[in-house]
């Protein structure tokens, strides 16, 4: 250990305020460094001198002045300001309290996201996935055939449209606010162009409509 490091500790060591561990290290250094030893002596001399002088120098109130002062103090309104009950709570307790509240809040948010039912399919996604088809001239007498189905359109109408994200909705056509929980399905034959439109309600009762 070099002198420059030890000298930082000397002021505290001279007044016995250095930690035991540092004091031991400093004493080991002092065994082989007379300069640092002299410096400690200088500190002690200065401190002893000031202590001796200041210790002797005491002041006291002249009795008459003290009595006058006490009379003035007593004429004041006595201290009635009470400590707030909250101030009795240690700062550490406040910190722990806030930390617990914060953790509970985070846990509640996580649980809410886990336990809440899955959101209804986004209307806009379905709508944007089904671009409007040009109308075709239909021959209603032609029989539909599953083999020739060119396209299947799904459209879900729901009363939850208000809950949907506006930003997502902005990407697609504005959903219609119509009867709730209806699903319609349009089957179009690629070969004949025959279009069959089915509408399902909530109980899966359905209606068929041929144009």
């Amino acid at each position: 250990m070099n002198c420059s490091r030890v000298r930082k500790w000397i002021p505290l060591y001279a007044g016995a305020d250095l930690s035991a561990r540092k004091a031991r290290r400093l004493e080991m250094h002092l065994e082989r460094c007379a300069d640092c030893g002299r410096e400690i002596e200088e500190f002690r001399a200065a401190l002893d001198g000031i202590r001796a002088v200041a210790g002797r120098e005491t002041l006291d109130w002249p009795e008459a002045e003290w009595k006058g002062l006490m009379a003035r103090v007593k004429s004041e309104k006595p201290g009635t300001r009470q400590v707030s009950p909250l101030s009795a709570i240690p700062k550490k307790a406040w910190a722990y309290g806030f930390a617990i509240i914060l953790l509970l809040g985070i846990a509640a948010l996580i649980l809410r996201s886990i336990l809440s039912p899955p959101a209804a399919p986004l209307l806009s996604e379905i709508i944007t996935a089904t671009p409007a088809q040009p109308s075709r001239s239909l021959k209603t007498d032609e029989a539909p055939s599953a083999r020739y189905l060119r396209d299947v359109h799904f459209r879900v109408r729901t009363d939850r449209t208000e809950a949907l994200d506006r930003a997502t909705l902005a990407a697609g056509p504005t959903p219609e606010k119509t009867t709730q929980s209806l699903m319609s399905m349009t089957l179009v034959s690629q070969e004949t162009g025959l279009k069959v439109h089915w509408t399902f309600n909530r109980n899966f009762e359905w209606k068929e409509k041929k144009p």
């Binding site: 002596e41 001198g49 000031i50 200041a54 002041l59 006291d60 006595p78 201290g79």
Partner: protein, 185 residues
């Protein structure tokens, strides 16, 4: 806080204001002396000490009985001193010092009184915080923990200021009293 002090505090808060005097009398010398060591002016020390007692009376209701009453008074005094604005050797102080000191003759050996004044003047070289820490720890012999409690700062901060204060004091004493250092060797 001891039982007697606790009872006296109760009495004062209960309206018996005459109980305030026995409560603070044990500390009247301490408060005035510490105030003098802080400002080095008798009149200012009385002013600080008086204001300390006034505030102690006014805010006695907010005193936490778990704490030391003495430390609470010292804390108020430090606050009063700071609020009045620490003045390093103002006009009044200089007048007082001039009245106490005889003109210095380099050839003449310093008298005990002069040595005392010169040593105490070394405290003027400290910053207000260093002076507070130094006086409480090295002159009033309060522990580092108590000093920290009185000044409402951390023990680490007390050690840092104490180290700086002792360093400055040693330098000043070395400059002014080379003989004192030589005698110790």
């Amino acid at each position: 806080m001891d039982e007697k002090e606790s009872r006296l505090v109760e009495l004062v808060l209960g309206g018996q204001t005459e109980a305030f005097e026995p409560l603070v009398t044990p500390y009247r010398k301490l408060l005035l002396t510490l105030a003098y060591r802080l400002c080095r002016n008798t009149e200012e020390a009385k002013e600080i000490s008086q204001e300390t007692l006034m505030r102690a009376f006014r805010y006695l209701g907010s005193f936490d009985r778990k704490r030391s009453f003495k430390n609470w008074l010292l804390q108020i005094e430090m606050n009063v001193w700071r609020s009045l604005g620490p003045r390093a050797a103002d006009e009044g102080t200089l007048r007082e010092l001039a009245a106490r000191n005889t003109p210095e003759d380099p050839e003449e050996r310093l008298t005990g009184k002069e040595v005392r004044e010169k040593l105490l003047a070394c405290l003027d070289g400290l910053s207000p915080r260093e002076r507070e820490v130094f006086l409480l720890r090295d002159i009033e012999s309060r522990s580092v923990k108590e000093t920290a409690e009185v000044l409402r700062i951390s023990a680490i901060s007390v050690r840092v200021h104490l180290s700086r204060a002792r360093d400055k004091i040693r330098e000043l004493v070395k400059k002014r009293f080379l003989g004192l250092m030589e005698e110790r060797r």
